[in-house]
Symmetry: C2
Subunit: 237 residues, 2 copies
Amino acid sequence: MVREAGSVTSRLSPSARTTVVRGDRARTDRGALHDVLASGVICHLGVVVDAVPLVLPTSYGYDLDGPDRDGTLYLHGSVAARSLLEAPEQTVCVTISVVDGLVLARSGFHHSMNYRSAVLIGVPRQVTDHAEREWALETLVDHLVPGRTATLRPHTRKELAATVVLALPLHEASVKVRDGDPIDDPVDVAEPVWAGVLPLRTAADNPVPSADCLAGLPVPSDVQARAQTSMRSASSS
Amino acid sequence: MVREAGSVTSRLSPSARTTVVRGDRARTDRGALHDVLASGVICHLGVVVDAVPLVLPTSYGYDLDGPDRDGTLYLHGSVAARSLLEAPEQTVCVTISVVDGLVLARSGFHHSMNYRSAVLIGVPRQVTDHAEREWALETLVDHLVPGRTATLRPHTRKELAATVVLALPLHEASVKVRDGDPIDDPVDVAEPVWAGVLPLRTAADNPVPSADCLAGLPVPSDVQARAQTSMRSASSS
């Protein structure tokens, strides 16, 4: 059974290599992908270096109306980062995962997690256009704290020269979602063993000013708002 | 400058392919690896399938005294999971990442995250020994909720037959840690822009019994204890 998430915009276009084998956890609407993009904090980039499928955690930004097919995911890195420099020449994978809870069944076998994950596959485009590079870096900062960019000075020429920006289409994607109760074998349900879900979420604590922060500066409203966001799924059923 | 984490047990043995380029964030003691293993909830497995470096989120268990060099990481999956079945024949990468905070600098360029991550590389060993398979599955459940396995019935023959268990040595590893304040350009520090860190952590909410949980069963003490763990770094400086 395919359980559909909340808002449906357009269908995802998974290829054979992104098709989810366990169909009961697959999502096929773009709204599910957009939910994962909005809820994740970091992504994991897969890139082959010396025949090893290296998996590297990194931050991301995105633009649902970006210039690539079905929108654009943006990654950035130092020009010294080998994996990013090699990526434009090969197909990469970017996975974003959000853990929503531990699923505690009556048997070890049926233990699981509630989660939302998106797997994107594509050949990255190195962003060279000046305006798009600036915009991509804005999406990266504003994904951490929406509105933060507007409170900062523009990037300098030197900073832009030191940064590699990659773009990946949001087109080839697969999304998986597990939610709800553990599913135990009927024979186990009658046993006096507690079963249920331990909900998990990414919580923020109070912002901590840096040691060199000018005295008397209030915490900006965008940072305050972000601190109050706890990244729970809005669409979980 | 290499900043050392708390406890030092034995040195990590990174190879050229796991050597951290940005030396100021590298950790070289095994205690830092053990901290990441204990603090992470899921890992991301990198495996090449049809020439694509697929990145798949999955749960893990580990045994610091396991039979592989420097200890053992355990992964499991359905026998139907293609990536796991193909993994024994190739070098894979397993990355565990813990996000500790958003680093909000005075410029977009110096925005960053506080995090702890471990990258493990190796050729997985398919676990065939019966006792080790049972033990591996225990480590997977007990990593979610320490002590949970002791409250559950043993795995059945059928369950064990349906499960692939892989072991990866903890030997070839690199660990990166970033913590502390944003590091701004001196010229920016004088500007009246708030800078600091927004701490993030994986928080648990109250356990929710499943709809079919027998009435009157109390939440077990191991689940209660896990709910009170908020996964903050014990070793962050």
